[in-house]
């Protein structure tokens, strides 16, 4: 029953927010809800590592290693984001009490839809949940109501809903494959079992539709155009959720179908993943050099990171563990990067990189956090992403994809320089900003956010390794 409780908690929190006029209970309830979902998902993941699969409602609701991993990451980012929201929304100049309540209502509804995605056992229902994550986050992206925010929300809604609608035909085709083989149960498991019996052309068509459709929402180049806009215009707490975990949640749907597509002859799916992955990493790396907005910098880094995960998926079974490792480290690091960026935005009041100078003199906490989270997201040691990228390089080497390795290393170097130059310019130098003290909740969220980035940079705790191994097994056909 606990599985079903996870999406219900934010839903109840949303209802509770409606009951109170003052924003303080809304902040408290939302943060408590975030913490509760994290604890529940950790407990769930522990149960899964003992029992492999956890089915609550046969054919409808259940969790395996991969979905448990996604749930834990969602729970973690939800917890930090809800605490961060407290101080962030309070200090947003134009907030106001009514607007703040509306923010918490929307945030909780969005979280609820996000938690729904990994728990369904039927692809069609998962698709419905994915659509819900979009429509329930549109008003979070447009929250600032500036022309730019509305433009970003519009692109976000139209392009990603279009993508999901294209993906639905892919899902219908897979279900047709099931009915051709006279299988009545329409779950992930039955798809995996029936895939060898389906015509390869049907699988190919379904794969292309699903990769392009859901790939639009993952931010894979060339369907990424909406991502830097939406992921930079939203309030920073929402950016952390969108960039840190929402994209990975949608990628989870493609991963869930990976054992099905692995049956397409000639490693068709792997080649497409490698091509799209490298394209995303390359394009994002070069765009990162050109940005003027530091939130857009981190948004492009999301496109880059999703490309890396896709490359690892394209390596076949050897890259499975590494790709999930990257999903894990990206979720904790990217959410932290956006919390740091939000702290800088609160301190300076601008997103323009050139207007921010000498941050270290006015707000040492946000300056240090921005500098080191920039280094962490770019893949420098001793932070989490360094280790996961290393394991991807190792898999690339072992599977003999030398050209892929060379290209990947080249693009990552470009991206590294891009991040470092921009962040360096903001942190050091003479300052003209007034010193600002960050709210306590933001400092706390930064502290909690830093823990996994530092710990996973040194070693991977055994239970986490166990969960990753279990999740990687579900990627195999």
């Amino acid at each position: 029953m606990m599985v079903a409780a996870i999406p219900v908690i934010p839903l109840l929190a949303a209802l509770a927010v409606l009951l109170f006029r003052h924003p303080t209970p809304a902040r408290l309830i939302t943060a408590a809800g975030g913490l509760a979902t994290l604890l529940l998902s950790i407990d769930l993941a522990q149960q899964v590592t003992h029992r492999v699969d956890l089915v609550v409602l046969p054919g409808w609701v259940g969790v395996n290693g991969l979905s448990a991993l996604i749930l834990v990451l969602q729970g973690f980012v939800a917890m930090t984001a809800t605490i961060y929201s407290w101080g962030y929304m309070k200090h947003q100049a134009r907030a106001g009490e009514a607007r703040e309540r509306r923010y918490y209502l929307n945030l909780n509804l969005f979280l609820s839809s996000l938690f729904l995605v990994p728990i369904f056992l039927q692809p069609a229902l998962t698709w419905v949940a994915v659509e819900l994550t979009t429509v329930l986050s549109v008003f979070l992206v447009s929250f600032d109501s500036t022309p730019q925010a509305l433009e970003a929300a519009w692109k976000y809604a139209i392009i990603t809903i279009m993508g999901a609608t294209v993906a639905v035909l892919g899902i219908f085709l897979l279900l047709w494959g099931l009915s051709l083989a006279h299988v009545a149960v329409q779950t992930w498991a039955s798809l995996k079992a029936t895939a060898p019996l389906m015509p390869p052309l049907l699988l190919k068509l379904a794969f292309v539709l699903i990769l392009i459709g859901f790939g639009t929402k993952v931010g894979i180049v060339p369907m990424h155009t909406w991502l830097p806009d939406a992921h930079s215009q939203a309030p920073s707490s929402v950016c952390a959720l969108l960039s840190g975990i929402e994209v990975s949640t949608i990628l989870y749907v493609i991963m869930r179908l990976w054992p099905v597509f692995a049956w397409i002859p000639g490693s068709f799916a792997q080649h497409w993943a490698l091509a799209f992955g490298l394209l995303s990493v390359g394009v994002a790396a070069f765009l990162m050099i050109q940005v003027h907005d530091f939130k857009r910098l981190f948004a492009f880094s999301t496109v880059e990171q999703m490309g890396i995960v896709l490359v690892a998926l394209g390596l076949g079974p050897a890259g499975g563990y590494a790709s999930l490792y990257q999903v894990l480290t990206h979720a904790v690091t990217k959410s932290l990067a956006f919390y740091s960026a939000g702290a800088v935005l609160l301190t300076t009041g601008t997103r323009d990189i050139a207007s921010v100078k000498g941050l270290i003199r006015v707000s040492p906490v946000s300056a240090m956090s921005l500098l080191f989270s920039g280094l962490a997201i770019a893949g420098a040691p001793p932070f989490a992403i360094f280790l996961s990228e290393l394991s991807i390089f190792r898999s690339t080497w072992q599977t003999g994809h030398i050209l892929v390795l060379v290209l990947l290393l080249g693009f990552l170097t470009v991206a590294f320089l891009g991040v470092l130059l921009k962040v360096n310019r903001m942190v050091f130098g003479q300052s003209h900003h007034r010193p600002v003290s960050l709210p306590l909740t933001i400092r706390f969220a930064l502290l909690v956010g830093w823990l996994p980035v530092l710990v996973f940079g040194v070693y991977l705790p055994r239970p986490m390794h166990h969960l990753l191994t279990l999740a990687a097994l579900t990627l195999r056909r």
């Binding site: 022309p147 509305l150 433009e151 279009m162 085709l173 009915s179 068509l205 323009d352």
Partner: protein, 227 residues
Amino acid sequence: MSTPFLDHILTNINSLLGALFLLSAFVLMVARQVQGFLRGFVRQSLLLALSALVLGWLQQSPELVIVALITLAAKTLIIPNLLVRTLQPQIRSRREVDFVVNTPVSLLVAIGISVLSYFFVVPLLAGASPSVSVNLPVGLDVLLIGVYTLAIRREAVPQVLAIMAIDNGAFYAGIAITSSSAIVELAAGLEGVIVVLVVAILTRTLAENVGTTQVGAMATLKEGDKP
């Protein structure tokens, strides 16, 4: 109840509906008036519902009849009403004078898409029932033309309706090839309504705050110039 003769007639009726459905995608692609686009969308959804009814009879499937009813309720009644209620008359009566691509070129592109998508799925149709042979290629084709229509539009409301037309294409193929449970269809129908509601509110906010619903003209967010 069901005789071979009646089945034969209904199969032919379904083929006719398929032809009209494909035609409706072309009509949507070239419609200039926002109102006209809305009417075209309602007609297309009606064809989808009719096809679901015919297939429901042919396959003796009560679920497809439910799908037809959901489509009728959501796409021919609720969604058009929502748009009319949320948006001021001046948005609805807008005319798109300039498409991104002109009409003759678009028609050629759409014909190209039709031919290509047909030849792509032909190998899948060997041994399939006559209704699948009509609905799968036509559905894929309407979906792709819908994506193209979305890409060449600059006005907010036609963009939303183009998405719902893509949805129509996917479901047109879906009703023939899957026996998906009615609950999923119900959820998807409800989803469509929420999507349109959310996007309609966004359109209204755009009209109020930015002063235009010409979404194609919005391009302040990009690399290169200073924000």
